[in-house]
Each structure stands twice: as C-alpha cells, then as structure tokens.
C-alpha cells in the first residue's frame, strides 16, 4: 500500500456491473515524506468515507478489487483506509519475546 491525497471526486453514471454506487476519487500519490510524487489516478473508495483533502492509503492491482463487494469488479486502484497520523519519529523498537 502507498500514501495518497484525495484531490477530487468523480461520477460515472454508466459503469460496469458491480460498480454501481462505488464512490470514485481522484488521488494524488504521495512519497513517504507526504510530498506529491507521480501522476494522479482514479481510485474506487473501499472505505466509502474518504473525501477531498484527506490523506489515505491505497492499494493497486488485484488486491484493490478486494475492497469491494462483490470483489470481481474491474477496479485496479482502491482506497483501503484514511490516515489519521503518520508517526515517523524515533520510537524504540518493541521488546520481542526471547527466541
């Protein structure tokens, strides 16, 4: 998965079977630093709650279609979740169980 920012919405009244009612969003992909990187693309919204201005994480290819029900749909990019926070500061690694 990768970071992205929703920059707009899309409406497709005529779409393939299984895509009725699925929100479509314009997404600008972001680098791990939160800066825009690459060309925007259209994502199906697997959360159905994302909107313009929000930072999201998205998945591509076959896994994108799995966010929808039914999952056998012609979708290759989808929003999986909305990012509340990116914690990039130096957090110590958790202690693991001894082997």
């Amino acid at each position: 998965m990768f970071l992205g920012r929703v920059i707009g919405t899309l409406v497709a009244t005529t779409a393939c079977e299984g895509m009725a009612g699925v929100p479509l969003l314009w997404v600008q992909p972001l680098g791990s630093d939160g800066a825009a990187k690459g060309q925007p693309f259209v994502c199906a919204d697997g959360t159905r709650m994302a909107g313009p201005g929000e930072t999201i994480y998205w998945e591509a290819s076959r896994e994108a279609a799995l966010t929808l029900e039914p999952s056998f749909v012609p979708v290759d990019h989808a929003v999986v979740g909305i990012v509340d926070d990116r914690q990039l500061d130096a957090v110590p690694a958790p202690r693991r169980r001894p082997r």
């Binding site: 998965m1 896994e63 966010t67 909305i82 990039l88």
Partner: protein, 88 residues
C-alpha cells in the same frame, strides 16, 4: 521479497473492515548495500517489527493473504521477517 527499514507507522481509524486490528508500518526500501533506496511501501506487520529495524517484506497478494489467514484482505505487502545481518 524486498528488504526495507521501518520508518514509522500509520494510524487509521476509518478503514476497510478487514484491516481492523492490523498494524501498518511505513517501510523505506533498502538496497543490497544496506543503504536506503528510492521508494517505500506501507506493509501490514505480521511479526511485531519496530522502528529502525531492517525487515523482509513480502510484496505479493496471494502469499500475503495466506500469511494473514484472511482470504479477502486487500493487502499485498506484509512484513514477514526481521533481518539480523542485512549486509555481509
């Protein structure tokens, strides 16, 4: 699989139902020389990796769904190992 270094984590309360309770890590890609390479990936943590650790990331959907034991989870990248000696 690809090599990466854990740079942080993602906090998300609104997500696809299958992502509930899963820990998401920001993993910067690392080259064969052990130095940071271009690119990153957000991966589900299957083993309990922490910040700064060099990790193995599985980047393939079918294997990811097997590791997470969830047939419908929309995930392709999973942290599957912590590397002890990344560069020989």
């Amino acid at each position: 699989m690809i090599l990466g270094r854990v740079a942080g984590r993602i906090v998300s309360t609104i997500h696809h139902p299958s992502m509930a309770g899963r820990s998401l890590l920001i993993v910067d890609k690392v080259g064969a020389d052990g130095e940071l390479a271009d690119g990153y990936v957000i991966a589900v943590d299957a083993i309990g990796a922490g910040w700064g650790e060099t990790v193995l990331v599985l980047d393939e959907g079918n294997g990811a769904r097997q590791i997470l034991q969830a047939p419908g989870v929309p995930v392709r990248s999973v942290v599957v190992g912590i590397v002890d000696n990344p560069v020989s």
